[in-house]
Amino acid sequence: MRHTSALTFALLLAAAPAFAQDPPSIPAPTDPVSIGRSEFTGKWYGTVDLGARVTSIDGDEARAQRYRDLRSGVYANNAVFGRRTQDFAFEGQAWNIGYRDQRYMLDFQKPGRLSASFLYDQIPLWISHDTRTLYSETQPGVFRLEDSMQQALQAKTTTLHSYEDQAVQFDLRTMRKIGEADVNFNATPNTAITVYIKNTNRDGHIPYGGTFGFSNAVEIPMPLDHRTTDLKTALEWSNDKGMLRFGWDGSTFENNITSIVWDNPLVYGPDASGAPSQGRHSAWPDNTLTYLHGTGAFNIPGNGRVTAYAAFGQGRNTTDLLPHTINTGLASPPLSRTNAEAESQMTIMNFTAAMRPASKLYLNARYRYADVDIQTPEFRRDNGQVSYDSSLKTSADPSEYHSVKRSTFDVDAAFSVAPYTSLKAGYSQQGTDYTHRIWESTSEDVFRVSLDSTGAQRFMLRALYENRQRTGDGFNAHALEAVGELPTMRHFDIADRDRDRFTFIGTAMVSSILEVNASAGIGRDTYSDSQHGLQMFDSDQYSVGANLAPDDRYSLTASYGWENYKSTQRSRNAGDDLQFVDPKRDWTTDYTGKVNFFEAGFDISAIERTLIRITGDWNKSNDTYLYGLVTGSPLAVPEQLPPVKNELLRAEIDLSYELAANLRLGVAYWFDDYKVEDFALGSETISGIAFPPVQEGEQAPSTNALLLGYQYRPYTAHVGFVRLTYGW
């Protein structure tokens, strides 16, 4: 009985949400102290790491701690406390207590009756420590500059560069706080009621564009203060023959900041056409999404099962609209309506049938229907619009909405050609209808064949080849003409495309202590009908690796991978109608991407009472974008851009020593080294907040951009830990 209960507990806990991955702000113990988790005596048990951390970061400390908090100080981590009896299990866990990335979890299980869990998690996002701004946020969402500065810039008696030193440094960061609860109650052995609720608050600032025209680009620290609340409820009935499930899901997004207003650095006023003294955005609109859904499944002869799912949903945004402009020097066109009245209706259906009509034959068929129908009424702008809060157009096109309706039919047949080996052939047909896209519909045929050899003790092999051919129907030339696109442009997400993919994974036990593995992934996309736009995309990914475990005291894993990517896209540079039809003005961008990565881990338990873990991983990418011109091109030969490079090296060593059965001493060291070169965001380009930057000896030119100084910088981080792990 005890063993059955223990197994039941283990299985149930395995079904619990997997919250408990150790977050690596603090090293996970490689040797958990024995705790009373496997006992069902009702005694309280627990474990906790108490330690201290010393951190030194040279370079971009924001990127080094992008989603984590590595500040020096004492810490309490991996705290577990709980109690188990034959009737219930209760456990609480806490990580990084008191730090920005802290997390807490409670879980209660009464087997066969009730499971409940609660999670509170904080996810910091530290974007930049280099950011500076001349703006002051006088109230949430309102950014002001010094009047004297605006006046001087408007009068052109100075330039923005002279104010660089007055910009105030601030940390550009956000914080996401998540609280969620999940309850599953078995009203009867066959009936379960689930309730899930999640609340996410996010605040902080992110970089955001607030531009006033081609020659007046502005970046503002967009404030965030919003909340998303999700509620999901379901009733499920099941037995050994089938199941029924009905549920309702609802989600609301609420933004506490409804609009953003910011000063124009180059204009103090009075407002005029082409010269707004300030700009205004609406912030992200409040929205809701609700779904009613049902699932049914039942077993059929041939060890099979049929499943059906249907969902009906609605999305809404009923936010009041701002006027066209805040520029008092323009007559803001009247609005054709004052509310967004934005609405989408979704109908989703899935049907799956899986069966095994013969011992060596397995059949699988699926049909999926997804209709995203945008029901927002057309927003007319017969009286015009205002661009950048600056220039008035006396008429403008109404809004257009892009509904998508997709049907996908899949069928697979797998044959057991040898013990533990199956050969599978499959076909899919996907048809999609669009509104206001270049094609009225697309159709995609997919053929695939795969070989899976698993279950053998010494090797595993999986290989898949897939061919996809997508073609469009009902070419809608207006979709291109209306926006001034080349008639030969094809948007790559729905353009005619031939795709071939091959993937392979293999593992072999060479001996009782050595396993080797290899993988390959090759993809070829060709957009044969696209004279302009994306023309082709190739991807090649390979890896080799080995796991060596001569005995229980040592284990070594290592793998190396390399990836190559290539694409070509074609455009035409034109400034007037004559140039627009001149094919000699075509140009291409050839992209080449190379990635190399290596990872290794070494565990040693050969020394008495001591565990040592050493891990390392290295990832390097190199992307180039090369411009090309056609023969006889009248365009100036472009100066090629430098490559974009990223390289990250991480190494960790963790050593723990058993002082007593319930006490371990641990020390750890982490090393992170990041290198980056980026022509758009690297520190060679982003050297200040006013652009273009002033060269030494030159007079400051008229500025055309006021930025935040967010840039990509390298960093090197050293983090040392010492900890005591205590259990009871």
Binding site: A14, A18, Q21, P23, P24, P32, R68, D121, A192, T200, T228, D230, H281, S282, W284, L289, Y291, N317, L321, P323, T352, A354, R356, Y362, I374, T376, D389, A396, S399, E400, H402, K424, D452, E485, L486, M489, H491, F492, D493, I494, I505, S559, E563, S571, R572, N573, Q579, W587, T589, N619, S621, Y625, Y627, P638, L641, F679, A680, I686, F691, L707
Partner: protein, 221 residues
Amino acid sequence: MNDPEKVKPTQLNKISAKAVNAVCTTCHNKGEHAQWKGSQHEARNVSCISCHSIHKPMSTTSQLKAMNQQGTCITCHRDKVAKLDKSGHMPVREGKMECSSCHNPHGSTNVKLLKTGNTVNESCTSCHAEKRGPWLFEHAGINGEACSTCHDPHGSSNDRMLVAKLPFLCQRCHNHMKHPSTIYDNKVTQSSNRLFSRSCVTCHSAIHGSNHPSGSTFLRQ
């Protein structure tokens, strides 16, 4: 009656994947396991013990054979797990998310084994709800379609996890006259706001959709 001395326990590592799955799904056929039959992994002969270990799990939860989910999924999805180390990434390697934050490997009613929502967009906007819409002005190819047209959710070397760097990504679809189809070369890296810093979205900041009456080209939100 069966004599316990003569009944041999089933050895899961000696039977086919389908047979293993039939054993486990005797109990694990509800909730997040309800869609297992006919799912992508089941159809590829993945068995429960491909990922889980009943007697010797290495993970602290979910009885995984590896120490964590990344170590489990990398067995077959090495390219996806490798992307997590790229500079643009979700907080997976920091321990704030894991593969099952987005995917249900046991089967799902959504595409790509996504566990939340009914489309790719609904999965992404379950956390990024500010981009959910619906909008007054939509960006074709995004709303109702897939965030993955422009973003690589597993990781990218580009800022904001884009599949290609700006302005090149935008120029794959936008070729019209004047600035969209201009060549932005090395001569203008420090002078053209279409190239440095946020590139196209320095101006077209409401790129996911606009609720502004003048927002048809996403200059204002």
